[in-house]
Every structure is written in C-alpha cells, then in structure tokens.
Point group: C2
Chain length 620, copies 2
Amino acid sequence: MKHTRRHVNLRTILFGRPIKDREAESRKVGVWEGLSVLAPDALSSVAYGTEEILIVLSAAGVGALWYSLPISAVIVLLLIFLVVSYRQIIRAYPTGGGAYVIGRDTLGPSAGLLAGAALLIDYTLTVSVSVTAGIAALVSAFPSLLPYTVELSVLVVAFLTIVNLRGVRESAQLFAAPTYLFIVMILAMVAVGLFHRAAPTPLAAYVTPTAVSVAPLLILRAFSSGSSALTGIEAISNGVPVFKEDSVQRARRAMLLLGLFLGSMFLGTSIIAFRYHIVPNAEVTVLQQLADRIFGHGWFFYLLSFVTMAILSIAANTSFAGFPQLASIMARDEWMPRMFLARGDRLVYQNGIIVLGIISSLLIIAFRGNTDALIPLYAVGVYMSFTIAMSSLAKKRWQEGNDPHRWVTIGMGLFGSLLTAAVVITSVVTKFTEGAWIVVLAIPTIVWGMRAVHQHYRSVADELRLEDLTLVPKPKALVVVVPVASINKMTLATLSYALSMNPEEIVALHVAGTPEREARFHARWKNWNADPRIKLAVVESQYRSVIRPMVRYIDHLTGLFAEGRVVVVIPELLVEKSWQNILHNHMAVALEAVLIFRRRIAVTVVPYRLQQKPVNSKPS
Amino acid sequence: MKHTRRHVNLRTILFGRPIKDREAESRKVGVWEGLSVLAPDALSSVAYGTEEILIVLSAAGVGALWYSLPISAVIVLLLIFLVVSYRQIIRAYPTGGGAYVIGRDTLGPSAGLLAGAALLIDYTLTVSVSVTAGIAALVSAFPSLLPYTVELSVLVVAFLTIVNLRGVRESAQLFAAPTYLFIVMILAMVAVGLFHRAAPTPLAAYVTPTAVSVAPLLILRAFSSGSSALTGIEAISNGVPVFKEDSVQRARRAMLLLGLFLGSMFLGTSIIAFRYHIVPNAEVTVLQQLADRIFGHGWFFYLLSFVTMAILSIAANTSFAGFPQLASIMARDEWMPRMFLARGDRLVYQNGIIVLGIISSLLIIAFRGNTDALIPLYAVGVYMSFTIAMSSLAKKRWQEGNDPHRWVTIGMGLFGSLLTAAVVITSVVTKFTEGAWIVVLAIPTIVWGMRAVHQHYRSVADELRLEDLTLVPKPKALVVVVPVASINKMTLATLSYALSMNPEEIVALHVAGTPEREARFHARWKNWNADPRIKLAVVESQYRSVIRPMVRYIDHLTGLFAEGRVVVVIPELLVEKSWQNILHNHMAVALEAVLIFRRRIAVTVVPYRLQQKPVNSKPS
C-alpha cells in the first residue's frame, strides 16, 4: 500500500507525480514567467487588433484607412487607463478573482455574478477561438490537413488540458519561448518599419481629402472591432495568487510590462500598417503583409507566421489558468458546483480545467472548427467586467476616505467605467446581429443558473443545520430483509451478518417462479431450521423479474413498519478474475440502484469473496 | 405504483407491453407462420446456391458449366437425406437446441460443445452476411446510398433486434409476405423456364465434348460452394419449441415443406440456368439474369430483385430466433453466462438477441460492410453440426433397440454423417486459404471459453454448497465506521442508524486537512457529546483526497479487528431534482466502489432525503 504512489503508470506520465500541500509555494511563478502564463491572450490580440480596424474601415474605401491612426490612439489611451486602474485593483484585491471578487466585495453579489458570468464565457470563447485560429494558420501552410481542422483543434485543446493538469509552472516553462519571441519580433518589425528609409510613398500622398467622408457609425464599428485588442489584459489581476511572494508587487510589475509591450506593439503595428498602406485581404494577415514588405519573403516572414500560430494557441492557455481559479472562488461562494473546489494531486483545480477543455471542445465541434462567428462575442463580456472592476475601484477608494490622493483614483475609476461601458454599448449596438445577441442571452441565463445553485446550497445547509446540540444519536428499531435465492454458504454468511445487527425482525425473502418451486423451497427451509428470529417470506413472480417483486415487498414492509428503519442486506459474490463478473447477475448492484432512492430504506452490501481453489472436477 | 406498467412510454412503443408467463402459449406459431420465421435462411440460399457452383465451374470455361447439373442433383440427394433425418431428429429431441442437445445427450458433452460453438458462429455469420448482401442489392439499385452501406446495414440489424425483442409472433407476421412471395416467384419462374418453347438453343448444341476435361478438385470446390445452399435447414429442428402444440408434428411438417420448396427451387434454378446457358457475372445475379431472359426486363425482374433483397435481410431473422434459444439451453447447462437464461417482459431471451445484434453489427463494421470474405466460413460450421446430429441419431436408435425398422434410420444416420463429414473436409481443404481457417481457429477458441465458464460455475457451486445443514447463522461482533464531515442532521441520522446496529464499537471518522482544523473539529465534537459508545477518530490528509486516508484507516481497523466484521455506514444525500446531483460529491458512491472489493468490509448506504421546502432566503 505504502509505495503505490511511486509506481510509474500512465497517470504519472501524463500528469506528473502527486504534489503535497506544503510544496504549493514552490509551484508559483515570478514576474517574467507569470507574464508568459497570463499575457499571451492579451499579446496575441496584436495579431488581429489592427487588422480588425482596417477590415471595417476598408469597406469605405482605401482613403478611410487613415482613421485607423486616431482610433488606435484612442484604444491605447484606453489601455493606459486600464493598466493604471488594474494596478490599483491588484493592490486592493490581492487574492485574485478579478472583476468577480471586486464587484462582489464592493458593489454586491449581483454585480459580482454578472462579472463572473461574463468572464467565464470569455475564458471559454478564448480557448475555442484562439485554438481554431492557430490551427487555421497551420492549415493554410499545410492544405492537406484541411479535412482534419476540427480533430486537430480538439487535439490541441486536449494537449492544453493535460499540460494544465500537470500544474502551472510546467505551463510557464513550456510557453515562455514563443511569447517572448513574438514580442521581440513585433517590436523589431515596428522599429525597422518606422525608421526604414525605403518607405514606398510619402505619407502625404496617401492621405487624401476623401478620408473625411466616412460615416460616424463606421468609425464606431471600427473602434469596437479594434477594442478586441485589449481583451485579456484583466488576466493578470484575476490570477494574482499564481505569483510568488510578494505576489501583489510581482503582479503589478507584470501588469506594467504587459501594458508597455501591448501598447507599443499595437500602436506601432497600426502606424507601420498605415505607413506601408496595407489593405487587409483574406489570404495573408496584416502582420504577414508587413513582414513581407519590411523584411522580404524570407526567414522572418515564415518565422513570424509560425510564432503567430504558436501564440494564438498559447493564448488559450491564459484561460486554463483563469477559468479554474475563478470557478473555485465562485464555488467557495456557493455560486458554482462544489466540485470546482477540489484540488487534485498536482495542486491544480482539476475539475475547472477539465470542464473548460470539454466545453471549448464542444464549441469547436458545434461550429465545425469555424469560430469566426464567435469573435464578435468577445468584447461584450470583457468590457462588461472592466466596467464593474472600474466602478468598484472608485467606490472602494471613496468609502475608505483616508488617502488625500484618493480622488485621482476615484476619478480614474469613474472615467474608466464610463469609457468601458461605452465600449460595451457600442459593441452590442453595432454588432448585435453579428452575434452579440448570443452574449446578451447567455449572461442572464448563466446568472440565473448560478442563483439556482446558490439557492440549493443554502436550502440544504438550512435543512441540515443542527441548532439544538442536545439532540444526540438514538438507536431505532431495525427490520432486516435478506434476499435468499437458495440455501448455501453465502446465505449463511449474509444471515449471520443480519443477526449481528440485532434487528427486531429478519425476513429472508425468496422469489419463486411457480407454486411448485415455492413449496419446494419452503420444505428445504423448514428442514434447515436456521434461526427462530429469521422468518421466511416467499413472493411469486408473474413477470420472471426478480427485482420487481422484491422491491414491491420491501415497499410494502416499509409502509407497515413506520416507526423504524428497513435495512436490505444483499450479498455480492466477489470473483477472482474480472472476466468472471459477466457470469453473475450482480443483484446487489441492481437492487441497490432501485432502493437507494427510497427515503427510509438503507442498503447494505455484504461481499462474499470466493477462494477459487482449483476444484478437481471434470466437466459433466 | 400499481399502474406503472400501463404507462405508454418509449420502452412500450419499441418493445410492446410486458407479457405474463401464462400468455406464453398464445405467442407460439403454426406450421406456415413457423416456416416464415425459421425458413428464410435456408430458402434465401436459392439466391446464391446455383450461382456459387457456376462461378467455380466457369473458371474452367463455358463447357464446364454442364457439371452444375450432376452437382446440383447430388446436393438435392444430400438435402433429401438431411430432411428425412431431421424429421427423425425433431421427434427424438422435441425441446429444440438441435445439434447441441442431440450431441450432448447421445455422444457426450464434447460433441455437444463442438456443435454448439459451430452453430453460434453460424448464426452470427448469417446475420452479418445476409444483411450486408441485402443492403448491397439495395445499393446497386440506388447508387447514391453507397457511402452509407455500413450505417444502413447496422440500422437493419438494429431493426431486426428490436422486432425480435418484441417477441416471435410479431416477427412471423412481418416476414411471412416476402418469404412466400419469394417461393411463389421462383417456382413460377422455374415452371415457365422449363416448359417455355422459346428456349434459345437446343441443349445438345450447348453440351460440347470439352466439358469432360475438368479437374476433379474443381468439381469438389464447386460442390463445396453449392453445399452452402443447404445451410439453414437445421433451424427448424433447433427451434421446435416456438411451434404450437403438437410442436413436434408441426415442426416435422414444416421441415417437409421446407425440403420440398428448397429442393424444387434449387434444382429447378440449376436446370433452367443451364437451359438458358447463364454465365455468372459480377453485375447481375443468376436469378436476375433468368428473370430477364424468361419474363423480360419488366415488373417481374424488378419485383424479384426487391423480394430477393427482402428475403436476404429476413434470413438474418432466422438467427434471431435460433441464437437466443441455443444460448439459453447452453446457459442452463452452464456453458454460457447465466444472463442468457433471463427472459424479458416480452417472453423472449432478450440478452441473446441483444448480444447477437451487437456482435453481428461489430462484424459488419469490422469488415466495412463487405462480408463476401465471410461466406466461405458458412458451410464448415453448419456441416460440422449436421455430422454430429446424424451420428447422434444413429447412435440413439441403435441404443434403443426395440423398433425392427430402426436399422433403416441407423443406416441413414451413419451414411448422412459420413456424407456431411465429407462436405466439412472438402470445404476445409478446398477453401482453407479463402477463410475456412478462421472457423478452424474460432471453434476451438469458443469451446475453450465455454469450458472455462463451466469450470467457474462448478467451482463456485462447490464452494458455496452447504452440506452440513447443522451450520446455522450466528451473529458476529460488528465495528461500525461512520465518515463524518461535520455535525449536522444527516450526521445525527447516520449515527442513530449505526447505534441501532448494536455494534461493539462505533468510530466517527473525520478527515482533516490541517492540524488547526483537526483541533477545531475535536472541540466541536467534545461540545456535542453525542454518545459514549461513539469514538471520534481524526485522520489528516496530506494530498487533499478524502477517500484515500479513509480507506487506509478502514484497512488498518480491519486488520486489528480480525474476529468480527467492519461495517462502513455512509450517508448519501438525496436531492429533489436530478440536476442537483452535480452539486454534491457523492462520497457514498466513491467510497463504496473502493470498499466493495475488500472481503471483510460490509458497506451500508443510508439515504438522507431533503424535504426541499422553499427556503425564504436572499442570496448573500
């Protein structure tokens, strides 16, 4: 028994050896490692943020593309607000959980629930969309893989699930290289692109007066699309506890670094995309076009394509850190099933990881690997959680009322919450028919479900609570029913067990197919003369079923014996080899499955293990 | 409770209402109905019997086709022997079971086992091959169905399974029309074909002297292929009990009718195939070619094609009557798992039907709906069972020794057994590499498995047997272990139950995550002061798992308490609605699953059902 856990089995190979509680601290990560676990979701937005803006604007002609510059600038301003605010939030709420905990503690449970539902949806969408986007990039490089898009995507989700079941630090080590390579390559491309002499045409020639004739709604749509570039920046504040001590300081530093990287990469990409007047097209991404123009169709182009794929797949990993953490916090508050609280051998919230893997796989299968339709759903949920976090921050600082500098934070929080609320409204209005309605429907549904869960736990707790501690256990009278098919050693053992329980009455229950068999069994029983306390009851079976007449008899007995408890004691034959199980009828299992739902009937299974000594007998 | 069975639910719609034992007689069938249940396997052989002979002979040129006439004549002589012998067998063994029962009762269990294994294989092959052949015919009419061959075949098997789970008479009514239509159409075609004036050329012109230069081995191969036309004729003698009283008389009459129909249809087809000098080809069957020549490419051609498909599919139904019957007889003799003895609500041996449906579906899937490869396997098993039946008949009549006419039967049995043994040897030798080796391998494997089953049942019976009836149940000392997570009403109820059992000792077992929690629970427990007989044991969990430390403790306790029994009493919370089950951890189920395999530990599950009165509480 003692060394069982040392065995190297499939479980250990897939998920690693079990980790003890006191090892927990050493699993935690530093700033740069934490960035590679929590930042890929936000950073990978650079792969499509500028492109989403240009796609919307290009509908109004090439001249309209100029607007990408002010739109990107506004988004970067938004980013600065968010980073500064989130650094405050990390300090105010060091246990993570992000918008859910913040909203709950400051604005009340309803705001928390709303943020929690929005974030859980967002985590799931991130996995589905990022993984399929990564696979789509792979497939455009190897077209022969096209028929296996769904299978490959699900395989990647399964891979991420297993990696995360192994624990957080392993993930960090695995994903650090592509994350930092992506940052370095984009920044290098921006730097070269900004100062390269060989820019194709002067900017002035490209900015024509036609640019001004663009409808305001289109600008809003473009802004709303571009705002998806900031999704994922909340991940660090949600996951503060994964950092080493001092986790708040480390998380704040990581948040600052993320802001600097994301802002310069996003704005830089938008500027050089305009400088090289890139027009979005369906085959090649904006990033790939830029790499092609600036460095030519060489190693940089191919490496960037590959790293982009990698970081899109890795972005999904952010959710595998965030979803289980949030689900466990919400489970502790009894809004989610208790199972999300269970930590496995490797110290991770295994059920959250598994549920996330399953739901995002189902989404991929349901949308047949084409999750473009899900992208518009992103921004709504994320910015809703931003709004709740910002206004919570403002309210909290206002309530504390000590620090003379607090008005800066309060003003920032209020302004930030208005700004992000405006993004939510803009996204819902401009993209309602494109899929935003799904989120508008899903969030209230999930909130409703969580309230039902909460209500259940509360009513169970109310009902089980033992307020009067003078109530102590008292014995009741027992009636024991023992199903008896024939008189043999197993019957002897089971009836001995029944006698040990000191019951008021023991009924040996026999089911007979015909009156003749009934008479024969009666005679054998009388001959045995087992014990005066054991009464024989024989019921006839009209339908050849053994279970049904037994249950009917037991129900009848329970009705008669209202003041006590009926216990059904069922023998179960344990065979030596597992194949031999198909040779027996397992009445204990079948009967227990039926009886367990009856309030006043307890079921006891008494195992009888065969010795299986080789019997010296020839087949007859 | 009383009217539950009257509810019209999905189960009733699919399988019909439950049938009581005393209704059994009215489910049985008459001669003509019985023929339509048991004969399609044999009759459908007409669809390929002649063709199989011609395919082998045509390898030696058109001149060799003449040999189909003497070969068919020999096969019909064989048929006559078999029919006469099987009518004797039906009389000698009126409970059905065919070659298995006959071999077992007369030649001993080994011969019976051999026949039983051969027949079970044959029943399964019949289902797979007939269904896919029928679907192949359908698909050649509607080529757009080609990609769904496997799915359609499995669907037909599922349909046959459900029809047979409804009971035998329903099948008879459903299948009578195509069976008799097939008989009438083939006999009509033979009659018109024999006497039609417009035969293309005189026979003499067609039979050239080149015919004589055919190798004897080819003749044997052609004979062996043609002998597949007689597979299935044993079905009636195997299924005698499905006939109404006097079932022996009715079965003998059905056997005679089958012989007459099959003989005239097979021989007639061979003769007119020769008269119209049909050469087999891959696209159109011999029967379709004949219909085309004799009646033109009109309604007869299409109707015959359709009816041929239908009877091939229905042929599979023979096995759904025979397999469960044989399996139940062999289960009664303890060669097969006991579950094949269970008769369901509709009086059929449901497990036999379900197992046959599953195995034949798996064969279809494994061979991707192309079961041509399985056809050579047929004859070996069937003729092996014929041999055993014939020699049994001879031995039985010889042992009885009263009837002066018995020598006729003995001679017939001996000659028949030699003849059929010759067919087995011919088939194995001439078709070994074509697939006969599979049967040569499978039969001993199945026989070996059946012997293992028998050995198990015998050793269990030996071990359980209570020879000394002075041994009576005696109470033993009990130690009860009750897992306790917290002190609440469920704990109260479970401990009350434990006290009712009058044990020597009660251990309330608590698993604590940390030393602080352990101390806190100790204090609460002391404060409660439940009962002096209940001792608290607290174990610490290093790995967050609750089950593992409990099991370790219980194992330890079992070791200490060698002279008595350890009973683990586990509470199980019963919720009102099934979705609420995902909100609880179901420790009872998890713990029972582990503990049930320990010899000396009994497990009691005590249900605690919540009232679920609406609780007047707001979410906090």
